[in-house]
């Protein structure tokens, strides 16, 4: 097997070359910048430097009613979460979903009358002019989008220093890095971990660990957050005896926001189960049919 050995040697030499040559390049050149133009320089830079040696820890994984194969929303929890959103977050954040969706039976499940009454507490400007040619203000209707606290993001930024993100996809729009090999396990049945966004938001709401700095957050990248600590114990009244703590508020409002960004989750998992059972049975039947037919060919 002289030839084999030649090849092994050749490839070892090649690898050796590969290992050294680029090291040579790297020594006298800057690590390659992102490929795009200068505007994108920041694109691939590491996360902003953390202050005073303070590490930015990963959020802890929470258990949520909506995780897993059979996950559903807990209606009472979503209603509490809505209250927290309505009383606290809505002062700064918009949530661009129609009022009517709040009566979604797999979501918060408010009654139609409740939703109507809630909508009527908002003033909405018509998008079409009336017969006098004016954009009239009128009480909200269930079909309207929930109006935000500011007319536009610029106004919000002027008032708060930075525009708070809209909440309709907020939980889906956040994540934290899981790293190798965890990201692989996250995709597998029975462990499927799809709530990284929820855990991150939950962590941020509980991450104001410096009593003297209400804009310092343990979990926010770079720690300096434009949102001052929004929640404190006892701030929102619960009527069902649930503890009125920051942790509980955070858990409830995150569940509500998860529903807001993924309102079809319950239907999706229900249909999914039927589809999976159907496909597994179908595959089994096809397998035996195929085996039977192929027996003749052997």
């Amino acid at each position: 097997m002289i030839r084999l050995r030649t090849i092994a040697l050749a490839s070892a030499a090649l690898l050796g070359f590969a290992a050294f040559a680029p090291a040579g390049f790297a020594a006298n050149e800057q690590p390659s910048p992102p490929p795009a133009n200068e505007a994108k320089q920041g694109a691939s830079q590491p996360t902003p430097p953390t202050e005073a040696g303070e590490e930015q820890p990963s959020p802890t994984r929470q258990s949520w009613s909506f995780s897993g194969l059979f996950g559903t929303y807990d209606q009472a929890q979503l209603q509490r979460g809505f209250k927290v959103y309505h009383d606290v977050c809505a002062n700064c954040h918009s949530l661009s979903i129609p009022f009517r969706t709040l009566s979604d039976p797999t979501g918060p499940g408010f009654s139609d009358a409740q939703v109507k009454a809630l909508a009527a507490t908002y003033q909405v400007t018509d998008t079409e002019p009336n017969d006098k040619g004016e954009y009239a203000k009128r009480p909200g209707r269930p079909s309207d989008l929930i109006p935000g606290p500011y007319p536009n993001p610029e106004a919000a930024a002027a008032a708060l220093g930075k525009a708070p993100p809209d909440m309709s996809t907020l939980v889906k729009a956040r994540k934290y890095e899981r790293g190798f090999p965890w990201f692989i396990f996250d995709a597998l049945p029975f462990d499927q971990y799809q709530e990284v966004g929820a855990d991150y938001v939950y962590a941020v709401l509980n991450g104001y660990t410096k009593a003297d700095d209400l804009n310092w957050n343990l979990y926010y990248p770079g720690h300096k957050i434009a949102m001052p600590k929004p929640l404190s114990d006892g701030q929102v009244d619960y009527t069902d005896g649930t503890p009125t703590t920051v942790a509980q508020y955070a858990r409830d409002v995150v569940s509500f926001l998860y529903w807001a960004s993924e309102p079809t989750l319950v239907e999706r998992k229900k249909i999914g189960m039927r589809v999976m059972v159907f496909l597994i049975v179908l595959s089994a039947l096809l397998y035996f049919t195929k085996k039977r037919v192929w027996e003749k060919a052997h």
């Binding site: 490929p35 133009n37 994108k40 830079q45 052997h298």
Partner: protein, 425 residues
């Protein structure tokens, strides 16, 4: 699409039609009587799976297009409207976005299958090159599709990729401006990308027809890589044999697809794409979809932008030259012990590049990406040409039937010809 059809129409109407347009005979000869090697394994079901995925993307895509608005300040909301208000809109959208990933998963299985079993070698060069063209069109289609939801990653991904063209000397800037329809990615870019995203899948379908045509002229390769010598002994009829196997393979594939769609629909997507595009705010990290990551890593491994772009495109273009870069007369890795080792090393290199493509740029990553990029190119330009000259291959079986028998019964070269095989002749 090959040979003369054995199809005999039974009804008078069938005869009348067949003598005017022999399309049923064409289908019959291609998908019923067509002889397929009897030793094919499940890696050969990916062809059928890919055809299914193309159809699935077209069907879901056409329906999505009925509700989608290709305008910069409405696109994001129209996708959310699809997700929330359109009946089963969430299902269509998740089928389509995850469908793209499943499509690529299948095409990678299909391509690596081809490399492992030497399917690109004569007489299948044209077949292979048509496949590379399909792959290129798929990448273009998926890239432009990813821009449509107009999230942060859509916008910045489009910016990074279109900016690559500005690296071309002299005309680069003009080309980029021409692509954008302005001086940056914006509404005109979105409009043309939507138009092209609608068009390209149908071009893919056209090339697929050529691909299948070429396949049916030269016949399928097989795990032993020896040509069919005796149709009766070496092959079975496409229907029912290959059909059933393909349908079973597809059903199992659909289980995986359904898992993604119903249980982890956003796993492969980027969270940033749920934030509306904002030209004033660059995301912390710009990452393409997973299926483009290895090439992205090669691009970023090279300090010079123009050279990076050249490396990126040659990494893809090299695939088309495989039939001539691989000098070994033996097709299948089964009989090429050394090639087999390099093949798996190559798979590992591609996976490694993919992982690096998703990471932040640090000195260590750049170094690793350079090493792997060199290995990537070395596989094509050094290993394959040399190996064919140096490697001692194992003896090939005299025929497919012999190879099958050696495995199932341990020796003799006689195969009984069952009634099923006769229909294949």
């Amino acid at each position: 699409m090959s040979g003369t059809s054995t199809y005999v129409p039974k009804s008078a109407l069938g005869k009348w039609f067949e003598s005017r347009l022999p399309i049923i005979g064409l289908v019959h000869s291609s998908f019923v009587a067509y002889p397929t090697p009897r030793n094919l394994n499940y890696l050969w079901t990916f062809g059928a799976i890919l055809s299914f995925m193309l159809a699935a993307q077209i069907v879901t895509g056409v329906i999505l297009a009925m509700h989608y608005v290709p305008q910069a300040n409405l696109a994001f909301d129209s996708v959310e409207h699809i997700m929330r208000d359109v009946n089963y809109g969430w299902l269509l959208r998740y089928l389509h976005s995850n469908g793209a990933s499943m499509f690529f998963f299948a095409v990678y299985a299909h391509i690596f299958r081809g490399i492992y079993y030497g399917s690109y070698k004569a007489p299948r060069e044209v077949l292979w090159i048509l496949g590379v063209i399909i792959y290129l069109l798929m990448m273009a289609t998926a890239f432009m599709g990813y821009v449509l939801p107009w999230g942060q990653m859509s916008f910045w991904g489009a910016t990074v990729i279109t900016n690559l063209f500005s690296a071309i000397p002299l005309v680069g800037k003009s080309i980029a401006t021409w692509l954008w329809g302005g001086y940056a990615v914006g509404d005109p870019t979105l409009n043309r990308f939507f138009s092209l995203h609608y068009l390209l899948p149908f071009m893919i379908a056209g090339v697929v027809v050529l691909h299948v045509w070429a396949l049916h002229v030269v016949g399928q390769n097989n795990p032993d890589g020896v040509e069919v010598k005796n149709v009766a002994r070496d092959t079975v009829a496409f229907t029912p044999y290959a059909t059933l196997k393909d349908v079973f393979g597809l059903a199992v594939f659909l289980i995986v697809y359904a898992w993604f769609v119903f249980y982890i629909p956003n796993y492969l997507g980027d969270a940033d794409n749920y934030i509306k595009a904002n030209p004033l705010q660059t995301p912390a990290r710009i990452v393409p979809e997973w299926y483009l990551l290895p090439f992205y890593a090669i691009l970023r491994a090279i300090p010079n932008k123009l050279l990076g772009v050249i490396a990126l495109f040659s990494a893809i273009a090299l695939l088309a030259f495989l039939p001539w870069l691989d000098t070994s007369p033996v097709r299948s890795a089964k009989y090429r012990p050394v090639f087999r080792v390099f093949f798996w090393a190559f798979v590992a290199v591609c996976l490694g590049l993919g992982w690096l493509g998703s990471q932040e740029i640090t000195d260590a990553y750049v170094l690793a990406a350079r090493i792997l990029a060199i290995c990537y190119f070395a596989f094509f330009l050094v290993v394959l040409p040399l190996l064919g000259l140096l490697e001692t291959t194992r003896p090939l079986p005299p025929s497919i039937a012999d190879a099958v028998l050696a495995r199932t019964k341990g020796g003799s070269a006689n195969v009984a010809v069952g009634p099923a095989e006769k229909s294949a002749v």
